[in-house]
Symmetry: C2
């Protein structure tokens, strides 16, 4: 055959992606890479992590060690990330030396710091909740600043650590100055910069995923409705109960955030829907829990499109494979039992796509997810929860599930 373009990488054979971090996102990237025949080298901090069994090649190293990052880059055509807790100056040096760091350092700077993210988005006209940075101990009285903010926006407010939080950690709703004082004192002890935000009255939470490649191609998956309990995502419903118009605007905002942050690879944007407006809450510059449903529910999964974007290959279609998709997270049972003990029962649920990440079970730890594709929203949701509960997931109150509590 004539006219086949040359592969973008210098070496012969399939391209190789280096993945910094070895959690479940890396594991699912590895599964996708294996199907595509793309090589992966995973850098893990310990030998036994979620991605270990699925990694084509594994190196031990620290994401905060420039030498380790350089050694990984030398084996790969592009570097990408399972998490954002990476030494950014080292990455910037690698990028300057010509390494394909995807997402780039500028995007990671936005993703790792809630204050930077809020300022960058607000400056570009992306709607975000009202917020201000709190002064550090040397700069002024943070509690006074919280009080001033609440005077304008009302109690309660939300205090947030600018860095290091996830799954509800580093986020403290506070109802009064005394509660604010307690949180601020703790943050001062740890030296964490903080911000204060208005507690937005929510009708719903949404997430939208965008994949964007270096050559400028971008695709967006249909926006989804998510349900959090204590700041932790418990279920993802596609398309969920919101108006098509709201979902469409969420998709547009996702595209806008991807452009503003210059993301490469998958970007996840979590949004609040107040009933009147959409506000961007969080941004993650990687595949995201709110997109696990795409493995079966979309023509191309977030993991495959992340790899394709990172290697600047054409992106795949993001259309749904079914009218309704539900994905429910699996958490460790209260009794500490392994989710695999419930595998038989979970797989007896019709159409259950069970994903377990191979992580050691601990009560409340995120250990997997279950996706169901079907024709009716209530049916796929019930089935997904039934399977997740069979795998040990405690039933949260407040989601109106009508399942027996565990």
């Amino acid at each position: 055959m004539s006219g086949r373009p040359e592969a973008s990488c210098a070496h012969r054979g399939p391209p190789v992606v280096g993945i910094v971090g070895a959690g479940q996102l890396a594991r699912m990237l590895c599964e996708s890479a294996s199907a595509l025949g793309i090589g992966v080298v995973v850098m893990a901090e310990r030998a036994a992590e979620a991605a270990t069994p699925a990694a084509g090649a594994l190196v031990e190293g620290s994401p905060r060690d420039g030498n380790d990052l350089r050694a990984l880059a030398e084996r790969c055509d592009a570097l990408t990330f399972d998490h954002e807790l990476v030494d950014l100056p080292s990455l910037a040096a690698l990028a300057s030396a010509g390494v394909a760091v995807r997402p780039g350092v500028q995007t990671l700077e936005v993703a790792v710091d809630k204050s930077t993210m809020r300022h960058r988005l607000a400056a570009s006209g992306v709607p975000v909740p009202p917020f201000v940075d709190l002064p550090g101990p040397a700069q002024g009285d943070a509690v006074v600043a919280v009080d001033d903010f609440a005077a304008a926006h009302g109690w309660p407010v939300v205090l947030k650590a600018a860095r290091g939080g996830y799954d509800g950690r580093g986020v403290w709703p506070v109802a009064d100055p005394a509660a604010a004082r307690s949180v601020v004192a703790g943050a001062a002890a740890s030296g964490t910069p903080m911000l204060v935000e208005a507690l937005v009255p929510l009708d719903a939470e949404l997430a939208v995923l965008v994949a964007r490649s270096p050559s400028g191609e971008s695709v967006v998956w249909p926006a989804v409705e998510t349900a959090q309990v204590d700041g932790v995502c418990r279920e993802v419903l596609v398309p969920g109960s919101l108006d098509r118009d709201v979902l469409g605007r969420a998709g547009d905002l996702g595209h806008q955030v991807a452009e503003v942050t210059g993301s490469l690879g998958v970007l996840a944007v979590e949004l609040f829907w107040t009933g009147a407006e959409l506000l961007v809450n969080e941004v993650a510059a990687r595949p995201h829990n709110s997109g696990h449903w795409t493995i079966e529910g979309s023509v191309t999964s977030q993991f495959e499109n992340h790899l394709r974007a990172v290697l600047d290959l054409p992106l795949g279609a993001t259309t749904l494979t079914a009218p309704a998709v539900a994905s429910v997270n699996v958490f460790g049972a209260e009794d500490g039992s392994e989710p695999s003990e419930g595998l038989r029962e979970a797989l007896s649920v019709p159409g259950a796509h069970v994903h377990l990440y191979g992580k050691r079970a601990r009560p409340g730890r995120k250990l997997g997810h279950v996706t169901i594709c079907g024709s009716r929203a209530d049916d796929v949701r019930t089935r997904a929860w039934t399977a997740a509960v069979a795998l040990g997931t405690p039933v949260p109150a407040g989601l109106g599930l009508g399942l027996e509590a565990s």
Copy 2:
């Protein structure tokens, strides 16, 4: 939660499957096992095989060495196979000692020997082409036996090695006694037992896959139409062009063969459609090339259901995810180039699910496959071929593809 049944395996944690052989079937089993959180130990003859990067754990060993098989079994809850070329007496000893060998030795005996298979199926009323075993050199003149057979059934006939053939190897259509003599002489030199079969006039070839579990559950995927060139499968079309009635009868025959052979795990049955009747051609007691489309085209893939069956877990639904599915094999380009050189072009084909097996490229070697799901049979077929050709696959004559030859 109360009432969760105990896991079937004695150790705590997820079940572990031992896979004998490390080709692409093992690789795709590993991808599926990773998603389910099931452990795998792959036994490979060499360190670098298709399944190596995807294997959670890898041991080197020979499928013809009883000690290697026993060592593998000791690490696993069940043993299964990437191919049938395994020492059956050693497996029988392991099974007697309580190892879950799946499929069992009796099924493998049928699958590895075309003569045994034909006799077993014929004795159970399963339609097969007319055949006779040929005498070995010590038993009589094989060429006379071929001549006698052809006198009854007409020339040409098909000579087959009872063992060791695959992808068209070990199968020789012969048009006259001189050609038969030449093949028989070669077989005598290698000591291969042979059979002779009528060359059945074909309208089409079909394949049907059945998954069957130790507890007696069995599921069948919709029968598919396959196209072979020189005995090698080039494309799989779902549902293909045959009458629904014929496809339904093929499914019934698949179930019947699974029962007759007592298969555990996936069994693939290849059939001839003469325009008037269905005849069973080949049986493979493992996931099969004719079922790769199930990864995206069916709710549960053959690889997942094989693992589920092997571990006696409930089997998943085999319904289609789209009205039309086409899967086309990727073969090494004539110029020896790597398929990954065409990855960019292949992924630009809308909806192309590219699977590359990580095998070293050689002209004509099976290196991957591409699946497309859609609504129109001709459209998905054309797209799948376009992507496969982009990956270097030579275009075969005789399939009426209307694509430029490579």
